[in-house]
């Protein structure tokens, strides 16, 4: 398995829609395939970095490349390789979608109109739902699910789709413990077995730190890049999260305590 440049940024600066500077002076290069986490406190530019990588936000300075493609001029090549899990509350519940309709989106969005679901599409959608323990809810209205269940369905949508990069925006925020560990394990396993890179934005490194190989620590600029153990460093965390941050060691693992809740939006 040969290494390649998964994501790189050169002197990157990006603004929020309201004009405030979300990211500045960001430089890094991550090789793939990998399982990486983008962490940092609320409003540190994590989701902005992800959206810039997807070509949905334009840098005000510098460049970003995904798989070697420029995120502004070559975004359509990037999007062919992307499976994306947005923040859960971005899913509008005004449309009567069933669980199967949501998961099939992952298949059908990679096709051309009229995007009919073949039996192969349905099989792959079912398999993906089985991975997250949701296949019995195939015909259930998406709206009637709990938060954790919705999140699992969205992960299944990404698993059923095609493309070498899975990008997830806070997939663990506000979900129950069962859904959290299920999602983390499924993603770790999928990454190992399929040479698919996983890029996850999260406010909480603890549930995933045994799976993650690269961590970007952000606070509007790049504070640190390295392995999870490198980032579980009290000095770094205090710098980012303030003096209340702690590193706890338990059963041979380090955990960070940051008093941070997760989801934030800048519409």
């Amino acid at each position: 398995m040969s290494e390649f440049s998964l994501i790189e940024a050169h002197d990157l600066a990006v603004r929020y829609p309201d004009g405030e500077l979300a990211l500045y002076n960001v430089n890094f290069r991550i090789s793939g395939p990998t399982f990486m986490a983008i962490i940092g406190p609320n409003g540190s530019g994590k989701s902005t970095l992800l959206k810039t990588a997807l070509g949905m936000l334009k840098p005000v300075r510098g460049t970003m490349r995904v798989l070697g493609y420029d995120t502004v001029t070559e975004k359509k090549y990037i999007r062919r390789e992307i499976r994306y899990v947005p923040q859960r509350d971005r899913i509008q519940l005004t449309v009567p979608m069933k669980v199967k309709d949501i998961v099939l989106m992952g298949r059908l969005l990679k096709k051309r109109p009229p995007r009919f679901a073949s039996s192969k599409d349905k099989d792959l959608a079912r398999q993906a739902l089985r991975k997250v323990n949701m296949d019995e809810l195939w015909n259930r209205p998406f709206m009637e699910l709990s938060g954790g269940q919705r999140q699992r369905v969205l992960v299944a949508r990404a698993l059923a789709s095609e493309g070498s990069i899975l990008m997830l925006d806070e997939p663990l925020a506000g979900t129950d413990a069962e859904s959290q560990s299920l999602i983390v394990e499924v993603l770790g396993e999928y990454h190992r077995e399929n040479e698919v890179s996983v890029v996850m934005v999260t406010h909480d490194l603890n549930p995933i730190h045994t799976f993650v190989r690269n961590v970007l620590l952000l606070k509007n600029t790049l504070i640190g890049v390295g392995t999870p153990c490198d980032m579980m460093d009290l000095e770094l965390l205090v710098k980012v999260y303030g003096p209340s941050a702690k590193v706890v060691e338990y059963a041979g693992h380090r955990y960070c305590v940051t008093h941070d809740v997760g989801v934030d939006r800048h519409d």
């Binding site: 829609p17 959206k51 997807l54 949905m56 359509k76 999007r79 062919r80 992307i82 499976r83 994306y84 899990v85 947005p86 971005r90 899913i91 509008q92 005004t94 449309v95 009567p96 979608m97 069933k98 309709d101 949501i102 989106m105 992952g106 059908l108 969005l109 990679k110 109109p113 009229p114 995007r115 209205p141 949508r157 789709s161 990008m167 519409d267």
Partner: protein, 314 residues
């Protein structure tokens, strides 16, 4: 009995009645293929916004004709132009997929075009002012061949777009970011949906009148969306409710002295109220059971004893 059937057949043989029935059928198609997606996007307000914007456009058309600036400029052209303008402003505000921003944009462009209409009315000869409404407000019992033709074309185009792109319209409504990231040209489908809807609203208003369009575009879709759990089911249900309301409206207008549009509007609105009631009843019966007082007391005992005695049964 035979007398009633004879009377009904006689009514049905009248050309204006036949046109009205055909018009009702076409409007039901427009409601199903356009109104449904507007309700999905949380844009039910756009119907009245566009219809009023069309009024401003018609005023501009009349002004341009009478002032001699553009004598060839038909008011209906102005109406269509302003409708598209509302769709563009709304679309621009909602490029990120946020329904609340689009509702605000509809409100603003609605106010803008009404202001333009009132401003221009001052410069149009007073005798011509009622004509502004005339260009816009049709009546289902007064449909002429041109109205029917335009309505049929609108319905055919909407039907074609819905068959071809219903998934895209749904995906743009459900998850704009996700659809974009997976490679869909969401911006194109976003504008396609809004512009065709705006044109459809303008044409339908011209043909059958504003009251019927307001009622038929929104209420059946909102009612169906409360009760039906599939997109295809909602599309079909909207068509049925819309057609039924219109037919009952026409029937009522032959038996009692009443505007068919008003009756149809009342029936359509009632369908929404009934759907809400059914939904409410359904939610109540499927709610999880509330633990009774014994169980809560048990829970307190367990908590007080630090859970050491475990769960006991009663």
């Amino acid at each position: 009995m035979i007398d009633t059937i004879d009377a009904l057949l006689e009514i049905l043989s009248a050309p204006f009645v036949q046109r009205a029935i055909l018009g009702a059928f076409l409007v039901a198609i427009v409601a199903s293929t356009s109104g449904t997606f507007l309700v999905f996007r949380g844009l039910s307000f756009m119907t009245s916004g566009v219809a009023h914007a069309a009024l401003g456009g018609a005023a501009l058309g009349l002004f341009l004709q009478h002032s001699g600036i553009l004598p060839w400029f038909d008011p209906i052209l102005g109406a269509l132009l302003f409708s598209v303008l509302v769709a563009l402003i709304t679309g621009y505000a909602g490029e990120k997929g946020i329904a609340e921003k689009m509702e605000v944009a509809v409100g603003v462009s609605f106010a803008l075009s009404m202001s333009i209409a009132v401003l221009l009315m001052y410069y149009i000869p007073p005798t011509q002012v009622p004509q502004i409404w005339g260009y816009l407000i049709g009546d289902i019992l007064l449909l002429n061949d041109l109205d029917l033709l335009l309505l049929a074309e609108t319905a055919a185009i909407l039907l074609f777009l819905t068959v071809l792109f219903n998934k895209e319209f749904v995906y743009v409504s459900v998850d704009m970011d996700g659809a974009t990231a997976h490679g869909l040209n969401t911006r194109a489908y976003h504008y396609l949906m809004l512009i065709t809807s705006a044109l459809a609203i303008a044409f339908a208003t011209k043909a059958v009148g504003a009251i019927l369009v307001y009622a038929i575009m929104v209420a059946p879709a909102a009612a169906s969306n409360e009760l039906i759990h599939s997109v295809r089911g909602v599309l079909f249900s909207v068509f049925v409710i819309a057609l039924l309301s219109e037919m009952l409206g026409l029937l009522a207008s032959f038996t009692i002295q009443a505007s068919p549009s008003a009756i149809a509007g009342i029936i359509a609105a009632l369908s929404y109220v009934i759907a809400l009631q059914i939904r409410h009843f359904r939610d109540r019966t499927t709610d999880t059971e509330i633990p009774d007082s014994h169980e809560i007391e048990d829970l307190f005992t367990i908590m007080e004893n630090g859970g050491s005695e475990g769960v006991h049964h009663h």
